[in-house]
């Protein structure tokens, strides 16, 4: 009986069900538009797993998502919902792009400089919101969302600047200098069969471990979670809650900004004019939720989302709408939300049964 209970109290169990049901819901949608789910899901699997280089590509897709996922998960721990990861991601890529295009120094300096600029930009972007929250009591969700749009238009503005955009092309910036790219050495990329294989994924894993360490092992993590669980008690016991709020939101913003840098330096190499929000930050919310706000969990949920995105991008080859991926991910999130309620209900029932 206790085995049953331990399964029912495990997040992974509900996650698995949510994922299965999410795919089932996707299958119904596919049938509705006249596509065989077996063909579509077959293509999805094939596009991710049939060749090693596809897996590498999936990891590339996962990298920024892991980082924004970490950003959101970290903010959850402190009881703040960083829905502004999107904007922090954008200013992060802007900073990395500007430093990458305009500063000409050797690679040993250039990459750290770009990354540092991105982290600072993301952190600063989030800190403005945190400051408004602390000093003026402005709800952070509102300002985060507004700052997403400010970042969005600021980025388009930057693309339009003469020093930044390509000659005779105002739709995208110049590529960042080679010294700022974070690609693996050429021969490694050849072996992997992926022209964009880069250090970003490794960086994301390291960050996840660092964040896990901060939360679990350090006094900073202890105070952040204390504030997240019960800000009144934290304050009463002498924890400087404002300082902790600023620190945590700053770190969260920095992580999202780093995500922007990694995407830019590892994948795109330049900024293009946005037509709509790219959604890396919002997808980070999904990653954090699937990963149960656990930093290590974010690695796996980020990989899952990354693979779905990469595999999904191939679906158009067989005339399957790629939006199906977003529908499935949305369903999974919805179901995870439902599962929190079901979990307590199931557990109660099992306990009741055992008692009888």
């Amino acid at each position: 009986m206790n085995k049953k209970r331990s399964i029912l109290s495990n997040h992974a169990f509900y996650l698995l069900i949510a994922i299965i049901l999410g795919f089932l819901a996707g299958a119904i949608m596919l049938l509705a538009v006249g596509v065989s789910p077996i063909t579509a899901y077959g293509k999805l699997l094939e596009s991710v797993f049939s060749r090693p280089k596809f897996i590498v590509w999936s990891m590339n897709y996962a990298t920024p998502l892991i980082l924004t996922g970490l950003a959101v998960a970290f903010s959850f721990k402190m009881g703040v919902f960083n829905i502004g990861a999107e904007g922090q991601f954008v200013v992060g890529s802007m900073a990395a792009c500007a430093v990458g295009v305009l500063v000409d120094v050797p690679a040993v300096l250039h990459v750290p400089l770009c990354i540092l600029a991105a982290i600072s930009a993301g952190a600063a972007w989030a800190l403005i919101v945190a400051y408004l929250k602390i000093k003026r009591g402005i709800n952070e969700v509102l300002s985060f969302i507004m700052f997403n749009w400010i970042a969005f238009y600021l980025s388009n503005f930057m693309v339009n600047l003469k020093v930044m955009h390509k000659v005779n092309n105002r739709e995208a910036t110049k590529n960042v200098l080679d010294s700022a790219r974070i690609f693996f050495p050429e021969n490694v990329r050849d072996i992997l069969g992926c022209s964009s294989a880069n250090y970003g994924f490794i960086l994301a894993i390291i960050l996840a471990v660092i964040i896990w360490f901060i939360l679990k092992k350090t006094t900073l993590g202890y105070t952040i979670c204390a504030v997240g669980y019960n800000i009144n008690a934290a304050k009463y016991c002498g924890i400087h809650t404002n300082r902790i709020t600023l620190t945590a939101i700053g770190i969260s913003g920095g992580l999202a900004g780093l995500g922007g840098a990694v995407q830019l330096l590892g994948m795109t190499g330049r900024l293009s004019k946005f037509a709509g929000q790219e959604g890396f930050g919002f997808q980070g919310i999904t990653v954090a939720l699937i990963g149960a706000s656990n930093p290590i969990g974010c690695i796996f949920s980020g990989l899952f989302y990354g693979a779905m995105k990469y595999g999904g991008s191939k679906l158009s080859l067989i005339d399957v709408p790629t939006e199906i991926v977003d529908i499935i991910m949305g369903m999974i999130i919805l179901l995870i939300g439902v599962s929190y309620t079901l979990k307590s209900d199931f557990l109660k029932r099992v306990i009741k049964k055992e008692a009888e």
Partner: protein, 514 residues
């Protein structure tokens, strides 16, 4: 010797026989019997976790017994749900009120059984009915007031009205006095007598002996899930009730040797402050506490004691005045500075301010010292040291269960949660201990425990400021009692000379020697 409990078959309204309830393998109710007559106030006495709430949840249809029989007004019925219980005429007033804050009193009372006039809510006739019931039993309420604007005492009367409005003639009151002031408690007892005189039966769950003595006809004692005895209340002594409840003789006397107060530890001078609405609530308050004395601060709720404590602990900013701690001002300092200057405190609301319920017992014990050696080094928590420290305190302060080092503190009983706070604050061993309602909601055993440690701090020549609504607690512990009224100290009485009447007079704003 008290006489055996007499059952009068004609008047029995509720009879629970051999009720057994198990959670997991834990026997919470082990063959409990309960008989309640018409027009009787029947107290159920037991320590925290004795199983009295479970028994009442069974009676109210919130839980199902594993075995046993419930007979309501002569008919054996399995009670399926609270709805079913209400149909049977059983109503329950929970310890934590279940009211909709922005709704009016009337709206709350009729919630779920609104009378309609066509399709429109018929508030008028509902209000009339509410007023009728309230006048009949002396339940004074303002039917148009919003819940968020009325006192806790009135909120409770609304809860009782809610039950009566649904036609209940058997009322279960779960710890009804837990958050009431002395005057409100007296009023409640009067209301209960009214109701009983009108033929309603009241089941009173409590662990306050004094209230049982003052109101109940019979008392059923439950200990560790087992039925102990049912007694006629006016035939037993208070301390006999207490020892039946805990299963051993209780030593009430605290070890308080006579002591001369030493130098002043905290000196509060001419303190002015506003409450959250911006209304002046402290109006030039002066108070000082010296080494080796317990100063009891008492007053009717809302006279500024909450704000005073918030200022002393750094949660609220005062307007003017000064607070001198060991010669240095801590007026409007941050909580951390206040703590560092030698103030530790047992907060009034342990779940809001005292503990982080999701954190383990160990993590809660280091809430103020987490960044000091040996608990952390260079910002890294030292788990082994923290757990070792926690194990010591769990042993020393008898926190149960014993293996709760890494258990979330929210899983502990209220009494043990309070022990965690006491353990932490007493071990901090600061010059001043502020204790605010330190025994609220605790049973007799835990109360004695808390009192012991408060007195021990005093005996160690520390200063103690005790703020409490419990007159008994203030009178039995304090060396000096200060009465707060309308934002000022209006009277000071030596602990030995204090009597209830004088204090009551002072608390109501009267003056001595007039």
């Amino acid at each position: 010797m008290e006489k055996a409990y007499q059952v009068d078959k004609n008047k029995v309204v509720i009879s629970m026989k051999g009720i057994v309830k198990k959670f997991d393998n834990l026997l919470v109710n082990d063959h409990i019997d309960l008989t309640v007559h018409k027009g009787e106030i029947h107290a159920i006495l037991g320590e925290n976790g004795a199983g009295k709430s479970t028994l009442m949840n069974i009676l109210y249809g919130l839980a199902k017994p594993n075995s046993g029989e419930i007979i309501v007004k002569g008919k054996a019925v399995p009670i399926e749900s609270p709805k079913h219980a209400i149909e049977l005429g059983i109503g329950m007033v929970h310890q934590h009120f279940m009211l909709v804050q922005p709704f009016t009193v009337t709206e709350n009372i009729i919630l779920g059984m609104e009378t309609l006039n066509g399709i429109v809510l018929d508030i008028k006739s509902a209000k009339k009915k509410v007023l009728e019931i309230s006048q009949k039993y002396g339940l004074k309420v303002d039917p148009d007031a919003k819940i968020e604007d009325i006192s806790v005492g009135m909120q409770q009367r609304v809860e009782i009205l809610k039950v009566l409005y649904r036609g209940a003639d058997i009322l279960i009151l779960d710890e009804p006095t837990a958050s009431l002031t002395i005057a409100e408690i007296n009023e409640l007892i009067e209301i209960m007598n009214h109701l009983a005189a009108d033929g309603k039966s009241i089941i009173l769950i409590t662990h306050k002996l004094k209230e049982i003595k003052a109101s109940a006809d019979y008392c059923t004692i439950i200990r560790q899930g087992k039925y102990i005895k049912t007694v006629k209340v006016d035939e037993v002594e208070e301390n006999h009730l207490a020892s039946m409840m805990v299963g051993r003789e209780l030593v009430y006397e605290v070890d308080k040797k006579p002591m001369l107060p030493g130098k002043t530890v905290i000196d509060i001078k001419n303190l002015h402050a506003k409450d959250y609405r911006g209304v002046e609530i402290l109006k030039g308050l002066n108070l000082m506490v010296r080494q080796g004395e317990i100063v009891g601060l008492i007053g009717v709720d809302g006279n500024g004691q909450t704000e005073l404590i918030e200022i002393l602990t750094g949660l609220l900013r005062g307007e003017s005045g000064d607070v001198i701690m060991n010669g240095e001002s801590i007026f409007n300092a941050e909580p951390k500075q206040v703590f560092d200057k030698g103030v530790s405190s047992i907060p009034a609301d342990r779940q809001k301010h005292g503990l982080i319920l999701e954190y383990s017992v160990a993590d809660n014990l280091i809430l103020q010292n987490y960044n000091q050696k040996p608990f952390s080094q260079k910002g890294i928590l030292q788990r082994n040291e923290i757990e070792k420290y926690a194990e010591e305190l769990i042993e020393k302060f008898d926190i149960r269960p014993k293996d709760s080092v890494n258990k979330p503190v929210g899983q502990l009983s209220g009494g043990n949660q309070q022990k965690v706070i006491i353990a932490r604050e007493v071990t901090n061993d600061k010059d001043l201990l502020i204790a605010v309602n330190p025994t609220r909601g605790l049973d007799v055993g835990a109360i004695a425990f808390v009192h012991k440690y408060i007195v021990e701090q005093r005996n160690k020549k520390k200063a103690v400021l005790l703020v409490s609504f419990e007159l008994d607690e203030i009178m039995s512990l304090s060396d000096r009692i200060e009465v707060i009224f309308d934002g000022q100290i209006t009277g000071s009485v030596s602990g030995d000379d204090a009597d209830e009447n004088t204090l009551g007079l002072l608390m109501a704003g009267g003056k001595l020697n007039e």
